[in-house]
Protein backbone atom coordinates (compact mmCIF):
# COMPACT_ATOMS: atom_id res chain seq x y z
CA UNK A 1 0.00 0.00 0.00
CA UNK A 2 1.17 3.54 -0.66
CA UNK A 3 3.04 5.52 1.97
CA UNK A 4 0.29 8.16 2.04
CA UNK A 5 -2.26 5.53 3.01
CA UNK A 6 -0.13 4.53 6.00
CA UNK A 7 0.17 8.21 6.96
CA UNK A 8 -3.62 8.42 6.68
CA UNK A 9 -4.09 5.40 8.94
CA UNK A 10 -1.65 6.87 11.48
CA UNK A 11 -3.34 10.31 11.55
CA UNK A 12 -6.83 8.80 11.70
CA UNK A 13 -5.63 6.40 14.41
CA UNK A 14 -4.21 9.28 16.43
CA UNK A 15 -7.48 11.21 16.21
CA UNK A 16 -9.45 8.10 17.20
CA UNK A 17 -7.13 7.56 20.19
CA UNK A 18 -7.44 11.25 21.09
CA UNK A 19 -11.22 10.94 20.95
CA UNK A 20 -11.27 7.80 23.12
CA UNK A 21 -8.75 9.04 25.70
CA UNK A 22 -9.78 12.73 25.60
CA UNK A 23 -10.27 12.98 29.40
CA UNK A 24 -6.68 11.75 29.94
CA UNK A 25 -5.09 13.93 27.24
CA UNK A 26 -6.90 17.24 27.81
CA UNK A 27 -4.90 19.58 30.03
CA UNK A 28 -7.80 21.79 31.12
CA UNK A 29 -11.56 21.65 31.66
CA UNK A 30 -13.09 22.31 28.20
CA UNK A 31 -15.83 24.61 29.48
CA UNK A 32 -13.87 26.40 32.24
CA UNK A 33 -13.81 30.13 31.41
CA UNK A 34 -11.17 32.57 32.58
CA UNK A 35 -11.91 36.06 31.29
CA UNK A 36 -8.56 37.35 32.54
CA UNK A 37 -6.85 34.91 30.15
CA UNK A 38 -8.63 35.80 26.87
CA UNK A 39 -6.86 35.28 23.51
CA UNK A 40 -3.55 34.16 25.06
CA UNK A 41 -1.17 32.98 22.29
CA UNK A 42 0.20 29.41 22.47
CA UNK A 43 2.40 28.91 25.56
CA UNK A 44 3.66 26.18 27.90
CA UNK A 45 0.55 26.50 30.05
CA UNK A 46 -1.87 26.64 27.08
CA UNK A 47 -0.30 24.69 24.19
CA UNK A 48 -2.74 26.06 21.58
CA UNK A 49 -3.48 29.30 23.48
CA UNK A 50 -6.91 30.34 24.75
CA UNK A 51 -10.10 31.54 23.07
CA UNK A 52 -12.35 34.59 23.57
CA UNK A 53 -13.69 33.24 26.87
CA UNK A 54 -10.26 32.19 28.15
CA UNK A 55 -10.89 28.49 27.51
CA UNK A 56 -7.98 26.18 26.65
CA UNK A 57 -7.97 25.62 22.86
CA UNK A 58 -5.88 22.39 23.01
CA UNK A 59 -8.33 20.64 25.32
CA UNK A 60 -11.26 21.81 23.22
CA UNK A 61 -9.67 20.55 19.99
CA UNK A 62 -9.06 17.14 21.62
CA UNK A 63 -12.65 16.86 22.83
CA UNK A 64 -13.83 18.13 19.43
CA UNK A 65 -12.38 14.95 17.88
CA UNK A 66 -14.94 12.99 19.87
CA UNK A 67 -17.88 14.86 18.39
CA UNK A 68 -16.52 14.80 14.82
CA UNK A 69 -15.59 11.11 14.73
CA UNK A 70 -18.75 9.96 16.49
CA UNK A 71 -20.89 11.77 13.95
CA UNK A 72 -18.71 10.74 10.97
CA UNK A 73 -18.41 7.04 11.75
CA UNK A 74 -22.09 6.59 12.54
CA UNK A 75 -23.14 8.37 9.37
CA UNK A 76 -20.75 6.39 7.12
CA UNK A 77 -21.67 2.97 8.52
CA UNK A 78 -25.42 3.45 8.39
CA UNK A 79 -25.58 5.19 5.04
CA UNK A 80 -23.10 2.92 3.20
CA UNK A 81 -24.86 -0.30 4.16
CA UNK A 82 -28.24 1.03 3.21
CA UNK A 83 -27.04 2.77 0.04
CA UNK A 84 -25.12 -0.24 -1.31
CA UNK A 85 -28.10 -2.55 -0.99
CA UNK A 86 -30.51 -0.14 -2.65
CA UNK A 87 -28.02 0.78 -5.41
CA UNK A 88 -27.31 -2.88 -6.20
CA UNK A 89 -31.00 -3.67 -6.43
CA UNK A 90 -31.63 -0.71 -8.73
CA UNK A 91 -28.72 -1.38 -11.07
CA UNK A 92 -29.05 -5.14 -11.22
CA UNK A 93 -32.76 -5.61 -11.65
CA UNK A 94 -33.19 -2.59 -13.93
CA UNK A 95 -36.64 -2.10 -15.46
CA UNK A 96 -39.41 -0.92 -13.21
CA UNK A 97 -37.41 -1.42 -10.00
CA UNK A 98 -34.62 0.81 -11.30
CA UNK A 99 -37.06 3.38 -12.63
CA UNK A 100 -38.77 3.60 -9.28
CA UNK A 101 -35.58 3.66 -7.20
CA UNK A 102 -33.14 5.72 -9.25
CA UNK A 103 -35.71 7.73 -11.15
CA UNK A 104 -38.00 8.51 -8.26
CA UNK A 105 -36.60 7.68 -4.81
CA UNK A 106 -33.00 8.80 -5.54
CA UNK A 107 -34.21 12.00 -7.17
CA UNK A 108 -36.42 12.86 -4.24
CA UNK A 109 -33.51 12.45 -1.83
CA UNK A 110 -31.07 14.11 -4.18
CA UNK A 111 -33.51 16.97 -4.62
CA UNK A 112 -32.35 18.14 -1.21
CA UNK A 113 -28.64 18.91 -1.16
CA UNK A 114 -27.33 17.26 2.01
CA UNK A 115 -26.47 20.43 3.84
CA UNK A 116 -29.80 22.04 2.94
CA UNK A 117 -31.87 19.14 4.30
CA UNK A 118 -29.82 19.11 7.45
CA UNK A 119 -30.33 22.87 7.78
CA UNK A 120 -34.06 22.51 7.13
CA UNK A 121 -34.49 19.66 9.61
CA UNK A 122 -32.50 21.47 12.27
CA UNK A 123 -34.44 24.69 11.60
CA UNK A 124 -37.76 22.94 12.17
CA UNK A 125 -36.80 20.29 14.73
CA UNK A 126 -34.19 22.11 16.78
CA UNK A 127 -30.47 21.35 17.09
CA UNK A 128 -28.85 18.27 18.64
CA UNK A 129 -26.34 15.52 17.84
CA UNK A 130 -28.91 12.77 17.31
CA UNK A 131 -31.01 14.80 14.88
CA UNK A 132 -27.86 15.90 13.06
CA UNK A 133 -26.70 12.28 12.57
CA UNK A 134 -30.15 11.23 11.41
CA UNK A 135 -30.32 14.05 8.86
CA UNK A 136 -26.84 13.27 7.47
CA UNK A 137 -27.72 9.55 7.16
CA UNK A 138 -31.01 10.25 5.43
CA UNK A 139 -29.10 12.18 2.79
CA UNK A 140 -25.81 10.24 2.82
CA UNK A 141 -27.04 6.85 1.59
CA UNK A 142 -28.04 8.17 -1.83
CA UNK A 143 -24.42 8.85 -2.79
CA UNK A 144 -23.47 5.21 -2.20
CA UNK A 145 -26.60 4.01 -3.96
CA UNK A 146 -25.85 6.10 -7.03
CA UNK A 147 -22.21 4.98 -7.21
CA UNK A 148 -23.24 1.36 -6.73
CA UNK A 149 -25.96 1.55 -9.36
CA UNK A 150 -23.59 3.18 -11.85
CA UNK A 151 -20.97 0.49 -11.27
CA UNK A 152 -23.49 -2.34 -11.55
CA UNK A 153 -24.84 -0.86 -14.80
CA UNK A 154 -21.30 -0.72 -16.15
CA UNK A 155 -20.10 -4.10 -14.91
CA UNK A 156 -23.17 -6.11 -15.81
CA UNK A 157 -22.58 -5.39 -19.50
CA UNK A 158 -19.12 -6.99 -19.35
CA UNK A 159 -18.56 -10.26 -21.14
CA UNK A 160 -17.71 -12.30 -18.07
CA UNK A 161 -21.07 -11.48 -16.53
CA UNK A 162 -22.81 -12.54 -19.72
CA UNK A 163 -20.67 -15.68 -19.67
CA UNK A 164 -21.69 -16.42 -16.08
CA UNK A 165 -25.30 -15.93 -17.04
CA UNK A 166 -24.90 -18.23 -20.04
CA UNK A 167 -23.48 -20.86 -17.67
CA UNK A 168 -26.73 -20.66 -15.72
CA UNK A 169 -25.59 -18.70 -12.65
CA UNK A 170 -28.46 -17.31 -10.58
CA UNK A 171 -29.06 -13.55 -10.22
CA UNK A 172 -27.93 -13.52 -6.60
CA UNK A 173 -24.76 -15.46 -7.43
CA UNK A 174 -23.90 -13.07 -10.26
CA UNK A 175 -24.58 -10.10 -8.00
CA UNK A 176 -22.46 -11.31 -5.10
CA UNK A 177 -19.59 -13.13 -6.78
CA UNK A 178 -19.17 -11.17 -10.00
CA UNK A 179 -20.63 -7.70 -9.75
CA UNK A 180 -20.19 -6.70 -6.11
CA UNK A 181 -16.41 -7.37 -5.88
CA UNK A 182 -15.91 -5.27 -9.00
CA UNK A 183 -18.04 -2.43 -7.71
CA UNK A 184 -16.53 -2.27 -4.25
CA UNK A 185 -13.59 0.01 -5.06
CA UNK A 186 -15.49 3.16 -5.94
CA UNK A 187 -17.63 2.48 -2.85
CA UNK A 188 -14.53 2.56 -0.67
CA UNK A 189 -13.48 5.86 -2.19
CA UNK A 190 -17.05 7.07 -1.63
CA UNK A 191 -16.90 5.91 2.01
CA UNK A 192 -13.64 7.75 2.63
CA UNK A 193 -15.07 10.87 1.04
CA UNK A 194 -18.29 10.23 2.96
CA UNK A 195 -16.43 10.17 6.27
CA UNK A 196 -14.69 13.38 5.31
CA UNK A 197 -17.99 14.84 4.16
CA UNK A 198 -19.77 13.96 7.39
CA UNK A 199 -17.00 15.55 9.46
CA UNK A 200 -17.21 18.66 7.27
CA UNK A 201 -21.02 18.76 7.41
CA UNK A 202 -21.04 18.55 11.18
CA UNK A 203 -18.48 21.35 11.39
CA UNK A 204 -20.35 23.42 8.79
CA UNK A 205 -23.67 23.18 10.61
CA UNK A 206 -22.00 23.99 13.90
CA UNK A 207 -20.28 26.93 12.18
CA UNK A 208 -23.73 28.18 11.07
CA UNK A 209 -24.91 27.82 14.67
CA UNK A 210 -27.22 24.93 13.71
CA UNK A 211 -25.22 21.87 14.75
CA UNK A 212 -23.94 20.85 18.13
CA UNK A 213 -24.98 23.66 20.49
CA UNK A 214 -22.31 25.48 22.55
CA UNK A 215 -20.57 25.17 24.93
CA UNK A 216 -19.80 21.67 23.49
CA UNK A 217 -16.39 21.98 21.78
CA UNK A 218 -17.36 21.28 18.16
CA UNK A 219 -14.61 22.33 15.76
CA UNK A 220 -17.15 24.26 13.64
CA UNK A 221 -18.45 26.22 16.61
CA UNK A 222 -14.88 27.04 17.67
CA UNK A 223 -14.11 28.44 14.21
CA UNK A 224 -17.27 30.55 14.16
CA UNK A 225 -16.41 31.99 17.56
CA UNK A 226 -12.83 32.74 16.44
CA UNK A 227 -13.70 34.32 13.09
CA UNK A 228 -14.31 37.87 14.30
CA UNK A 229 -10.85 38.21 15.84
CA UNK A 230 -8.99 36.24 13.19
CA UNK A 231 -6.52 38.98 12.22
CA UNK A 232 -5.44 39.66 15.83
CA UNK A 233 -5.64 36.09 17.24
CA UNK A 234 -5.34 33.64 14.33
CA UNK A 235 -4.43 30.69 16.57
CA UNK A 236 -7.99 30.33 17.87
CA UNK A 237 -9.22 29.61 14.32
CA UNK A 238 -6.07 27.90 13.09
CA UNK A 239 -5.98 24.87 15.41
CA UNK A 240 -9.56 23.64 14.99
CA UNK A 241 -9.15 24.40 11.26
CA UNK A 242 -6.03 22.23 11.12
CA UNK A 243 -7.83 19.50 13.08
CA UNK A 244 -10.67 19.39 10.55
CA UNK A 245 -8.26 19.46 7.61
CA UNK A 246 -6.07 16.69 9.09
CA UNK A 247 -9.04 14.43 9.81
CA UNK A 248 -10.46 14.90 6.34
CA UNK A 249 -7.00 14.52 4.77
CA UNK A 250 -6.39 11.28 6.66
CA UNK A 251 -9.57 9.66 5.37
CA UNK A 252 -8.79 10.82 1.86
CA UNK A 253 -5.31 9.25 2.07
CA UNK A 254 -6.84 6.00 3.31
CA UNK A 255 -9.42 5.94 0.51
CA UNK A 256 -6.82 6.67 -2.17
CA UNK A 257 -4.38 4.09 -0.83
CA UNK A 258 -7.00 1.37 -0.60
CA UNK A 259 -8.24 2.18 -4.07
CA UNK A 260 -4.83 1.72 -5.63
CA UNK A 261 -4.14 -1.35 -3.51
CA UNK A 262 -7.41 -3.02 -4.46
CA UNK A 263 -7.19 -2.33 -8.18
CA UNK A 264 -4.55 -4.65 -9.68
CA UNK A 265 -4.85 -2.90 -13.04
CA UNK A 266 -3.54 0.31 -11.49
CA UNK A 267 -1.02 -1.40 -9.21
CA UNK A 268 0.90 -3.23 -11.90
CA UNK A 269 1.19 -0.24 -14.19
Amino acid sequence: MSRLAYIGFIIAGLFILAAIFAPLIATHDVTAQDLAMRYIPPSVEHWFGTDGLGRDVFSRVIYGARISLEVGITVVIVSSIFGTIIGAIAGFYGGFVDKFLSGYVFNVFLAFPGLLLAIALVAFLGAGQGKLIAALCVIGWVGYARVMRGQVLKVREYDYVLAARALGASNLRILFTHILPNAVQPLIVQASLGMAGAVLSEASLSFLGLGIPPPAPSWGTMIEEARQFFSSSPHVLLFPGIAIAMTVLAFNFIGDGLREYLDPKQRTR
Binding site: P113, L116, I244
Partner: protein, 326 residues
Protein backbone atom coordinates in the same frame (compact mmCIF):
# COMPACT_ATOMS: atom_id res chain seq x y z
CA UNK B 1 -38.65 10.39 -33.19
CA UNK B 2 -41.85 9.02 -31.67
CA UNK B 3 -39.80 7.05 -29.18
CA UNK B 4 -37.79 10.16 -28.30
CA UNK B 5 -40.95 12.20 -27.64
CA UNK B 6 -42.36 9.44 -25.47
CA UNK B 7 -39.12 9.29 -23.54
CA UNK B 8 -39.13 13.05 -23.05
CA UNK B 9 -42.74 12.98 -21.81
CA UNK B 10 -41.82 10.24 -19.36
CA UNK B 11 -38.86 12.24 -18.06
CA UNK B 12 -41.07 15.29 -17.64
CA UNK B 13 -43.74 13.30 -15.78
CA UNK B 14 -41.10 11.89 -13.48
CA UNK B 15 -39.71 15.35 -12.80
CA UNK B 16 -43.18 16.66 -11.91
CA UNK B 17 -43.69 13.66 -9.63
CA UNK B 18 -40.44 14.45 -7.82
CA UNK B 19 -41.40 18.13 -7.50
CA UNK B 20 -44.79 17.08 -6.08
CA UNK B 21 -43.05 14.89 -3.48
CA UNK B 22 -40.66 17.68 -2.52
CA UNK B 23 -43.50 20.19 -2.11
CA UNK B 24 -45.39 17.71 0.05
CA UNK B 25 -42.32 17.03 2.20
CA UNK B 26 -41.59 20.74 2.60
CA UNK B 27 -45.23 21.38 3.58
CA UNK B 28 -44.91 18.58 6.10
CA UNK B 29 -41.84 20.21 7.67
CA UNK B 30 -43.82 23.07 9.19
CA UNK B 31 -46.00 20.50 10.96
CA UNK B 32 -43.02 19.09 12.84
CA UNK B 33 -42.16 22.39 14.57
CA UNK B 34 -42.41 21.67 18.27
CA UNK B 35 -45.21 23.79 19.72
CA UNK B 36 -47.43 26.29 17.92
CA UNK B 37 -45.61 28.55 15.41
CA UNK B 38 -47.89 31.44 16.48
CA UNK B 39 -46.66 31.28 20.07
CA UNK B 40 -43.09 30.79 18.89
CA UNK B 41 -43.25 33.91 16.67
CA UNK B 42 -45.32 36.20 18.88
CA UNK B 43 -43.71 35.13 22.15
CA UNK B 44 -45.18 34.08 25.48
CA UNK B 45 -46.60 37.55 26.22
CA UNK B 46 -48.96 37.66 23.20
CA UNK B 47 -52.69 37.93 23.95
CA UNK B 48 -55.13 35.23 22.91
CA UNK B 49 -56.61 37.62 20.34
CA UNK B 50 -53.22 38.35 18.75
CA UNK B 51 -52.51 34.64 18.50
CA UNK B 52 -55.89 33.92 16.92
CA UNK B 53 -55.44 36.74 14.39
CA UNK B 54 -52.00 35.46 13.49
CA UNK B 55 -53.27 31.90 13.11
CA UNK B 56 -56.16 33.01 10.90
CA UNK B 57 -53.95 35.20 8.71
CA UNK B 58 -51.38 32.47 8.08
CA UNK B 59 -53.95 29.66 7.74
CA UNK B 60 -52.66 27.98 10.88
CA UNK B 61 -56.23 27.60 12.16
CA UNK B 62 -57.17 25.29 9.30
CA UNK B 63 -56.36 21.55 9.35
CA UNK B 64 -52.97 20.65 7.84
CA UNK B 65 -54.02 18.01 5.30
CA UNK B 66 -57.09 16.50 3.68
CA UNK B 67 -57.30 13.88 6.38
CA UNK B 68 -56.46 14.31 10.06
CA UNK B 69 -56.23 11.75 12.80
CA UNK B 70 -57.00 12.07 16.49
CA UNK B 71 -57.02 9.36 19.09
CA UNK B 72 -60.68 9.89 20.01
CA UNK B 73 -62.32 10.47 16.64
CA UNK B 74 -60.06 8.40 14.39
CA UNK B 75 -59.68 9.66 10.80
CA UNK B 76 -61.58 12.82 9.81
CA UNK B 77 -62.06 14.12 6.26
CA UNK B 78 -61.37 17.87 6.22
CA UNK B 79 -62.41 18.66 2.66
CA UNK B 80 -60.67 21.32 0.59
CA UNK B 81 -60.38 23.71 3.54
CA UNK B 82 -56.87 22.59 4.47
CA UNK B 83 -53.42 24.16 4.42
CA UNK B 84 -51.89 21.65 2.03
CA UNK B 85 -54.50 22.33 -0.65
CA UNK B 86 -54.23 26.08 -0.07
CA UNK B 87 -50.43 26.00 -0.30
CA UNK B 88 -50.71 24.17 -3.63
CA UNK B 89 -53.34 26.57 -4.95
CA UNK B 90 -51.06 29.47 -4.07
CA UNK B 91 -47.98 27.74 -5.42
CA UNK B 92 -49.54 27.18 -8.84
CA UNK B 93 -50.07 30.95 -8.99
CA UNK B 94 -46.48 31.61 -7.92
CA UNK B 95 -47.52 32.46 -4.37
CA UNK B 96 -45.33 31.00 -1.62
CA UNK B 97 -47.39 32.49 1.20
CA UNK B 98 -46.64 35.49 3.37
CA UNK B 99 -43.70 35.87 5.70
CA UNK B 100 -44.57 35.31 9.37
CA UNK B 101 -42.31 38.19 10.36
CA UNK B 102 -42.53 40.88 7.68
CA UNK B 103 -45.94 39.97 6.19
CA UNK B 104 -44.39 40.41 2.72
CA UNK B 105 -44.94 37.74 0.01
CA UNK B 106 -42.23 35.10 0.46
CA UNK B 107 -41.80 34.81 -3.33
CA UNK B 108 -40.84 38.51 -3.57
CA UNK B 109 -38.33 38.19 -0.74
CA UNK B 110 -36.75 35.14 -2.37
CA UNK B 111 -36.53 36.42 -5.92
CA UNK B 112 -34.94 39.67 -4.75
CA UNK B 113 -32.06 37.67 -3.38
CA UNK B 114 -31.84 34.62 -5.63
CA UNK B 115 -29.97 36.25 -8.55
CA UNK B 116 -26.93 37.04 -6.41
CA UNK B 117 -26.75 33.44 -5.16
CA UNK B 118 -27.02 32.04 -8.69
CA UNK B 119 -24.35 34.47 -9.84
CA UNK B 120 -22.09 33.30 -7.02
CA UNK B 121 -22.71 29.59 -7.73
CA UNK B 122 -22.01 29.98 -11.45
CA UNK B 123 -18.85 31.98 -10.78
CA UNK B 124 -17.71 29.27 -8.35
CA UNK B 125 -18.41 26.52 -10.88
CA UNK B 126 -16.43 28.38 -13.56
CA UNK B 127 -13.51 28.77 -11.14
CA UNK B 128 -13.70 25.05 -10.38
CA UNK B 129 -13.86 23.86 -14.01
CA UNK B 130 -11.13 26.28 -15.05
CA UNK B 131 -8.79 24.79 -12.46
CA UNK B 132 -9.85 21.14 -12.54
CA UNK B 133 -9.98 20.21 -16.23
CA UNK B 134 -6.42 21.09 -17.23
CA UNK B 135 -4.97 20.02 -13.90
CA UNK B 136 -6.82 16.69 -13.84
CA UNK B 137 -5.89 15.71 -17.40
CA UNK B 138 -2.28 16.71 -16.85
CA UNK B 139 -2.08 14.74 -13.60
CA UNK B 140 -3.86 11.66 -14.94
CA UNK B 141 -1.83 11.38 -18.11
CA UNK B 142 1.46 11.78 -16.25
CA UNK B 143 0.74 9.49 -13.32
CA UNK B 144 3.23 9.77 -10.42
CA UNK B 145 5.07 12.68 -12.05
CA UNK B 146 5.83 15.96 -10.28
CA UNK B 147 2.75 17.58 -11.89
CA UNK B 148 0.60 14.69 -10.66
CA UNK B 149 1.87 14.95 -7.11
CA UNK B 150 1.42 18.73 -7.07
CA UNK B 151 -2.11 18.40 -8.46
CA UNK B 152 -2.95 15.71 -5.91
CA UNK B 153 -1.65 17.88 -3.10
CA UNK B 154 -3.67 20.85 -4.32
CA UNK B 155 -6.79 18.69 -4.63
CA UNK B 156 -6.36 17.26 -1.15
CA UNK B 157 -5.96 20.73 0.32
CA UNK B 158 -9.09 21.95 -1.47
CA UNK B 159 -11.14 19.00 -0.25
CA UNK B 160 -9.79 18.99 3.28
CA UNK B 161 -9.91 22.67 4.08
CA UNK B 162 -13.46 23.74 4.85
CA UNK B 163 -14.94 26.88 3.27
CA UNK B 164 -15.07 28.57 6.62
CA UNK B 165 -11.31 28.17 7.04
CA UNK B 166 -10.37 29.10 3.44
CA UNK B 167 -12.67 32.15 3.48
CA UNK B 168 -11.18 33.96 6.49
CA UNK B 169 -7.65 33.19 5.20
CA UNK B 170 -8.44 34.66 1.76
CA UNK B 171 -9.99 37.72 3.43
CA UNK B 172 -6.93 38.09 5.64
CA UNK B 173 -4.45 37.86 2.74
CA UNK B 174 -6.27 39.64 -0.11
CA UNK B 175 -8.49 42.10 1.76
CA UNK B 176 -6.67 42.94 5.01
CA UNK B 177 -2.99 42.57 4.02
CA UNK B 178 -2.95 43.29 0.25
CA UNK B 179 -6.10 45.44 0.22
CA UNK B 180 -7.09 44.20 -3.27
CA UNK B 181 -10.75 43.47 -2.49
CA UNK B 182 -13.27 44.48 0.15
CA UNK B 183 -13.51 41.91 2.93
CA UNK B 184 -17.31 41.65 2.74
CA UNK B 185 -20.28 42.78 0.67
CA UNK B 186 -20.86 43.04 -3.06
CA UNK B 187 -20.51 46.71 -3.97
CA UNK B 188 -18.09 46.32 -6.89
CA UNK B 189 -18.04 43.66 -9.65
CA UNK B 190 -14.67 42.30 -8.49
CA UNK B 191 -16.08 41.61 -5.03
CA UNK B 192 -17.38 38.30 -6.37
CA UNK B 193 -13.83 36.93 -6.81
CA UNK B 194 -13.05 36.04 -3.18
CA UNK B 195 -16.46 34.43 -2.49
CA UNK B 196 -16.34 32.53 -5.81
CA UNK B 197 -12.86 31.15 -5.13
CA UNK B 198 -13.90 30.23 -1.57
CA UNK B 199 -17.06 28.46 -2.75
CA UNK B 200 -15.39 26.83 -5.77
CA UNK B 201 -12.28 25.57 -3.97
CA UNK B 202 -13.79 22.31 -2.75
CA UNK B 203 -15.49 21.61 -6.08
CA UNK B 204 -12.30 22.26 -8.04
CA UNK B 205 -10.53 19.76 -5.80
CA UNK B 206 -13.23 17.10 -6.19
CA UNK B 207 -13.29 17.64 -9.96
CA UNK B 208 -9.51 17.46 -10.28
CA UNK B 209 -9.55 14.09 -8.53
CA UNK B 210 -12.44 12.88 -10.66
CA UNK B 211 -10.84 13.92 -13.94
CA UNK B 212 -7.50 12.44 -12.87
CA UNK B 213 -8.87 9.06 -11.80
CA UNK B 214 -11.17 8.94 -14.83
CA UNK B 215 -8.25 9.53 -17.17
CA UNK B 216 -6.13 6.90 -15.39
CA UNK B 217 -8.96 4.37 -15.44
CA UNK B 218 -9.76 4.93 -19.10
CA UNK B 219 -6.07 4.72 -20.03
CA UNK B 220 -6.13 1.16 -18.65
CA UNK B 221 -9.06 0.11 -20.87
CA UNK B 222 -8.66 -2.20 -23.85
CA UNK B 223 -9.78 0.33 -26.41
CA UNK B 224 -6.84 2.54 -25.51
CA UNK B 225 -4.46 -0.36 -26.12
CA UNK B 226 -6.19 -0.99 -29.43
CA UNK B 227 -5.89 2.65 -30.41
CA UNK B 228 -2.23 2.72 -29.43
CA UNK B 229 -1.61 -0.53 -31.33
CA UNK B 230 -3.17 1.05 -34.40
CA UNK B 231 -0.56 3.77 -34.10
CA UNK B 232 -2.86 6.59 -32.97
CA UNK B 233 -0.81 9.40 -31.47
CA UNK B 234 -0.76 9.66 -27.67
CA UNK B 235 -2.27 13.12 -27.87
CA UNK B 236 -5.19 11.89 -29.96
CA UNK B 237 -5.68 8.90 -27.63
CA UNK B 238 -5.90 11.26 -24.69
CA UNK B 239 -8.16 13.93 -26.11
CA UNK B 240 -10.28 11.99 -28.57
CA UNK B 241 -10.77 8.69 -26.78
CA UNK B 242 -9.96 8.97 -23.10
CA UNK B 243 -11.34 12.41 -22.32
CA UNK B 244 -14.62 11.71 -24.10
CA UNK B 245 -15.32 8.66 -21.94
CA UNK B 246 -13.62 10.03 -18.88
CA UNK B 247 -15.83 13.09 -18.76
CA UNK B 248 -19.01 11.06 -18.22
CA UNK B 249 -18.65 10.72 -14.43
CA UNK B 250 -17.41 14.32 -14.31
CA UNK B 251 -20.62 15.61 -15.89
CA UNK B 252 -22.65 13.67 -13.32
CA UNK B 253 -20.64 15.12 -10.49
CA UNK B 254 -21.02 18.65 -11.88
CA UNK B 255 -24.79 18.30 -12.01
CA UNK B 256 -24.94 16.88 -8.51
CA UNK B 257 -22.62 19.57 -7.23
CA UNK B 258 -24.81 22.47 -8.37
CA UNK B 259 -27.14 21.82 -5.47
CA UNK B 260 -24.19 21.44 -3.13
CA UNK B 261 -22.94 24.82 -4.35
CA UNK B 262 -26.35 26.43 -3.80
CA UNK B 263 -26.54 24.99 -0.29
CA UNK B 264 -22.84 25.56 0.39
CA UNK B 265 -23.30 29.17 -0.67
CA UNK B 266 -25.01 29.65 2.70
CA UNK B 267 -21.64 29.38 4.45
CA UNK B 268 -19.81 31.52 1.89
CA UNK B 269 -22.58 34.13 2.04
CA UNK B 270 -22.25 34.22 5.81
CA UNK B 271 -18.47 34.70 5.67
CA UNK B 272 -18.61 37.48 3.07
CA UNK B 273 -21.97 38.93 4.08
CA UNK B 274 -23.07 38.24 0.50
CA UNK B 275 -26.76 39.19 0.30
CA UNK B 276 -28.06 36.03 -1.35
CA UNK B 277 -30.69 33.40 -0.69
CA UNK B 278 -28.49 31.59 1.83
CA UNK B 279 -28.21 34.60 4.09
CA UNK B 280 -31.96 35.20 3.73
CA UNK B 281 -32.64 31.60 4.80
CA UNK B 282 -30.15 31.75 7.64
CA UNK B 283 -30.72 35.20 9.13
CA UNK B 284 -34.29 36.16 8.22
CA UNK B 285 -35.68 32.63 8.03
CA UNK B 286 -34.08 30.43 10.66
CA UNK B 287 -32.72 33.28 12.80
CA UNK B 288 -36.13 34.95 13.17
CA UNK B 289 -38.07 31.66 13.11
CA UNK B 290 -39.92 32.71 9.99
CA UNK B 291 -41.00 29.18 9.05
CA UNK B 292 -42.93 30.21 5.94
CA UNK B 293 -39.76 31.82 4.59
CA UNK B 294 -37.64 28.77 5.44
CA UNK B 295 -40.21 26.62 3.65
CA UNK B 296 -40.03 28.83 0.57
CA UNK B 297 -36.22 28.97 0.45
CA UNK B 298 -35.85 25.20 0.83
CA UNK B 299 -38.46 24.64 -1.87
CA UNK B 300 -36.89 27.05 -4.36
CA UNK B 301 -33.37 25.64 -3.90
CA UNK B 302 -34.65 22.07 -4.19
CA UNK B 303 -36.65 22.73 -7.33
CA UNK B 304 -33.65 24.44 -8.97
CA UNK B 305 -31.64 21.38 -8.07
CA UNK B 306 -34.23 18.99 -9.57
CA UNK B 307 -34.13 20.90 -12.84
CA UNK B 308 -30.31 20.75 -12.87
CA UNK B 309 -30.44 17.04 -12.03
CA UNK B 310 -32.79 16.25 -14.90
CA UNK B 311 -30.52 18.15 -17.24
CA UNK B 312 -27.54 16.13 -15.94
CA UNK B 313 -29.37 12.90 -16.55
CA UNK B 314 -30.20 14.01 -20.07
CA UNK B 315 -26.57 14.87 -20.85
CA UNK B 316 -25.36 11.63 -19.20
CA UNK B 317 -27.62 9.57 -21.47
CA UNK B 318 -26.43 11.47 -24.52
CA UNK B 319 -22.80 10.81 -23.59
CA UNK B 320 -22.89 7.10 -22.77
CA UNK B 321 -24.66 5.01 -25.42
CA UNK B 322 -24.50 1.93 -23.19
CA UNK B 323 -26.91 3.59 -20.78
CA UNK B 324 -29.08 5.09 -23.52
CA UNK B 325 -29.60 1.66 -25.08
CA UNK B 326 -30.98 0.34 -21.81
Amino acid sequence: MKYKLLNFARQLALMLLVIWTVVSLVTLLIEVVPGDPATVILGETATQEQIENFRAKHALDRPAFFVSYTGEEGFTWNGMENRYAEYWTGLLQGDLGRSFQTDRPVADMIFERYPSTIKLAIAAMLVAIGIALPLGVLAGSRKNSLVDNAASFFALMGISLPTFVIGPFLVYIFAVKLDWFSPTGSLYPEDIILPAVTLGAALSAILTRMVRSSVIEELGEDYVRTARAKGVSERKVLYKHVLKNGLIPVVTILGLQLGVLLAGAIITEKIFNWQGLGLLLLEDGIGKRDYRLVQGCVLVISVTFILANSLTDFVYRKLDPRIRLN
